[in-house]
């Protein structure tokens, strides 16, 4: 039975507690033991209440390229200034090993993760937005990151927007803007083109400029050729 491992409260000789004590990070920017000693003393003297007895973690991120340091010496400097060295972080593998032999534990808490794995996204085809009821004046429909299919009339004063293509099976009398995020390959397809405005990736055509529309009732497409919006039968 696992009972043998369990101990009751009064038998336990320790308890784990989490606390958030302030800890000073001392980031080395230059390796010079003499200067380090002097400057540390000066800094502690400026604010003894803050520094004396304070735990210090040595951060080697900046100096990780300069090889092995004399950690025993550094430890001595910190202790002689009434600081409490508790570990090192961020150095090269070589430095960390050397520090460990000198009595500096390697600390990983509070350090940015070295490998930041992006969360894996399962590739998923965006679902096309489908509208079956009439789109009235003043209404706005936006298909974000996908195509828009409208199976009803689009009234004057209504607005269709899509990051992808737009297909309209009822009369298109409002505005239709495809590729609004800049997709120049986006197209608009419709059967009755009476639109107030059509646009592909920001290039637009107003009703007044829509000439020579095919009048045989064929399905039309609106696409971008260079910087020109074209209307043609499919």
């Amino acid at each position: 039975m696992a009972d043998s491992i369990l101990v009751t409260d009064h038998q336990a000789c320790f308890r784990f507690k989490t606390s958030f004590a302030a800890c000073t990070i001392m980031q080395l920017t230059r390796y010079d033991l003499d200067d380090l000693s002097k400057q540390t003393t000066a800094a502690v003297n400026r604010a003894p209440n803050f520094f004396i007895g304070s735990p210090v973690v040595l951060d080697l991120e900046v100096v990780k390229g300069i090889g092995v340091l004399d950690f025993k010496q550094i430890k001595q400097i910190l202790i002689s200034n009434n600081l409490v060295p508790v570990g090192v972080r961020g150095g090269s593998q070589e430095q960390l090993e050397e520090a460990a032999t000198a009595g500096f534990p390697v600390i990983t808490i509070g350090k940015p993760k070295l490998i930041d794995e992006p969360p894996k996204k399962t590739p998923q085809a965006p679902i096309t937005k489908l509208v079956t009821s009439p789109i009235r004046s003043g209404m706005q429909v936006y298909a974000r990151a996908t195509d828009l299919i409208v199976m009803a009339p689009v009234s004057p004063g209504a607005e269709l927007l899509a990051d992808g293509n737009i297909h309209v099976y009822g009369p298109l009398r409002g505005r239709a803007l495809a590729g609004v995020q800049g997709n120049t390959q986006a197209r608009i397809f419709c059967r009755t083109l009476e639109a107030e405005l059509v646009a592909i990736a920001g290039y637009y055509l107003v009703k007044e400029d829509m000439h020579n529309l095919p009048s045989d009732g064929s399905t039309m497409q609106i696409y971008l050729a260079g910087e020109e919006v074209k209307i043609a039968a499919v």
């Binding site: 009235r136 003043g138 009339p153 009234s155 004057p156």
Partner: protein, 274 residues
């Protein structure tokens, strides 16, 4: 179960109040207990059209604020039994209406009435949205001209999204098109949109076509809803529309120009010749 009808249009001056008054009279004269409410706070007109402006003591806003009971504010119509009018306040503005207040008044009316006709103000703001919010069906009043058609279209969009039924997913409210001030002669001349033109854009069931008529103005000025004038074409057209609303099949009238008897004779001859 009470049925709440909103008469709306978006655009002003198309005949909402005339329609509300005539429709309410039409429903009441068929024996349904009917209340007609003026939602146009600050620009009250319904009492004038209904000819009860001299009997207004309390109004809609008084009831909402608890300053009067509903029974004190309701005005019994003099000509039609079963018809009551709840007038708007002329001294307030539309902010005096609250959703809770309107809900309470409609609830109270719903206990005893068969139909409640809400006469919406023009525009798409608060007053109009409150008038439509609780509706079961909407009569969209439209004139045969482009700006009115566009505004009605906008209203239909709001009706499909900004009503209690739509918000609670209880299905669409029933929408009915009422085309007013229709002049077949001007349609024939190309000065006016035809019924087909309007239908193409709005595409909702047609409740009626009210011809442009002197009788409407005469009725408004005399404070008797035009439906009461059974001799007039507009009055008859409203009677037909009410019948259609109640589910009866009535052929559409007044869609063709009244032609002179000589012209009729000639067209008859032409047909013979073919």
């Amino acid at each position: 179960m009470v049925k709440i009808i909103v008469v709306t249009s978006g655009k002003g001056g198309v005949g909402k109040t005339t329609t509300s008054a005539s429709f309410a009279v039409g429903l009441a004269s068929r024996g349904y207990k009917t209340a007609v409410i003026d939602f146009d706070i600050g620009l009250r007109n319904l009492d004038l059209i209904m000819g009860c402006e001299r009997r207004v003591v309390y109004d809609f806003v008084n009831v909402i604020r608890g300053e009067a009971t509903l029974n004190q504010a309701l005005i019994r119509d003099k000509h039609t039994k079963e018809l009551f009018i709840l007038p708007a306040s002329q001294t307030r503005d539309k902010d005096a209406l609250t959703l809770e207040g309107v809900a309470a008044v409609l609830d109270e009316l719903g206990k005893t009435f068969d139909y409640i006709v809400c006469d919406s103000p023009a525009g798409i703001e608060r007053g109009a949205q409150l008038a439509m919010y609780f509706a079961d069906s909407a009569i969209v009043v439209t004139n045969p001209e482009v700006s009115s058609v566009r505004d009605s279209d906008r209203m239909l969009g709001l009706l499909s999204s900004k009503t209690k039924r739509a918000e609670e997913g209880k299905g669409q409210i029933s929408e009915h098109l009422l085309l007013t001030r229709y002049s077949p002669k001007r349609v024939a001349n190309g000065d006016m949109l035809s019924l087909a033109d309007v239908n193409e854009i709005l595409a909702i069931p047609l409740l009626g076509v009210i011809p442009e008529s002197q009788a409407v103005l005469r009725a408004s000025n005399s404070g008797v809803p035009v439906i009461v004038d059974s001799e007039s074409d507009a009055g008859q057209a409203y009677t037909d529309a009410v019948a259609r609303y109640l589910g009866e099949e009535v052929p559409f009238r007044f869609l063709q120009e009244k032609s002179h008897w000589l012209k009729r004779l000639f067209s008859f001859k032409e047909k013979e010749a073919v």
